[in-house]
């Protein structure tokens, strides 16, 4: 089952957030509604530092996935510093190829190539074509509902 998706730019601004199933949100009532996204980015940022420290090859220290007892966080960082984060349950398997497709097949086509998209200012993505293509793609996956 797919829970939610975050897209961050390299400065940590949340460009896109979408949730499909989310039974728990500990920061739902936070005073500031970006709180949860910032905490998520903070975690990824520190994780990257830990992973770089512990890696046998500091030049390649990409995080693929983080598993807990109840959910799995799939992570892809692109060369330009964009981060795609997809949370699923623990039965979804390896979603690296899915995240790659999401980036190169959907994000690049519908967002990066859009004339209104500004890669610098970090404003949230509001493009209906991207929304619907993303929705269609994720719903076509075997792990979406099961």
């Amino acid at each position: 089952m797919i829970y939610n998706l975050y897209i961050f730019n390299r400065k940590g601004k949340c460009l896109y957030y979408r949730e499909w199933n989310r039974p728990q949100n500990t920061l739902e009532n936070a005073a500031d509604d970006g709180e949860e996204q910032r905490l998520m980015f903070g975690m990824l940022y520190s994780l990257k530092e830990v992973v770089t420290k512990m890696s046998t090859d500091p030049a390649s220290a990409g995080l693929h996935a983080l598993k807990t007892d109840s959910y799995t966080l799939h992570h892809l960082e692109t060369g330009s510093g964009l981060r795609f984060v997809l949370n699923t349950d623990n039965n979804a398997g390896d979603l690296r190829p899915t995240l790659r497709q999401l980036y190169s097949g959907i994000f690049v086509e519908y967002v990066a190539k859009h004339p209104q998209f500004n890669p610098v200012d970090g404003s949230p993505i509001r493009l209906p074509a991207f929304d619907s293509r993303l929705e269609e793609y994720l719903r076509s996956l075997a792990c979406f509902k099961s």
């Binding site: 939610n4 039974p23 905490l39 975690m43 512990m54 090859d57 500091p58 983080l66 807990t68 007892d69």
Partner: protein
Amino acid sequence: MFLQLFVVNKSGGLIYNQNLSSAAPRLNSNDWLRLGSTFHSLHAIAAQVAPVPSSGIEKLETDTFKLQSFQTLTGVKFVITAEAGTPDLGGVLQEIYELYTDYVLKNPFYELEMPIRCELFTLYLEELIERHSNAGGAPGGGGGGGKKPAGQY
């Protein structure tokens, strides 16, 4: 192949760290301490940003290594890393926990939450790691407990 092991107490302090392979990156003691407490915080944050109720990080997969952690009921975290592609490390962690209860907790000179300096623990840990490495890097398989002399610390 195993790379590194560290143990963090319930308040996030590093109480044990050990490189298990020459391929593991060499860290100085400040790096180790920072790593231990950062992991402790990340464990807590992972439970906070969770979309479903969760108790924190169990595994990490990266380009070059995988990490697995085991938290005891008393809040002590055992964290081990191994090369990418190594099978599940849960069995090894469980055995390390057993060594901890036998040779650390039962040691009358050991104070809870303090750094682990117990000769026998280190000794049997080395033996355990060697045994699993010789078994073709397939942790958790057979073997069972090694020879543990009773009544010695």
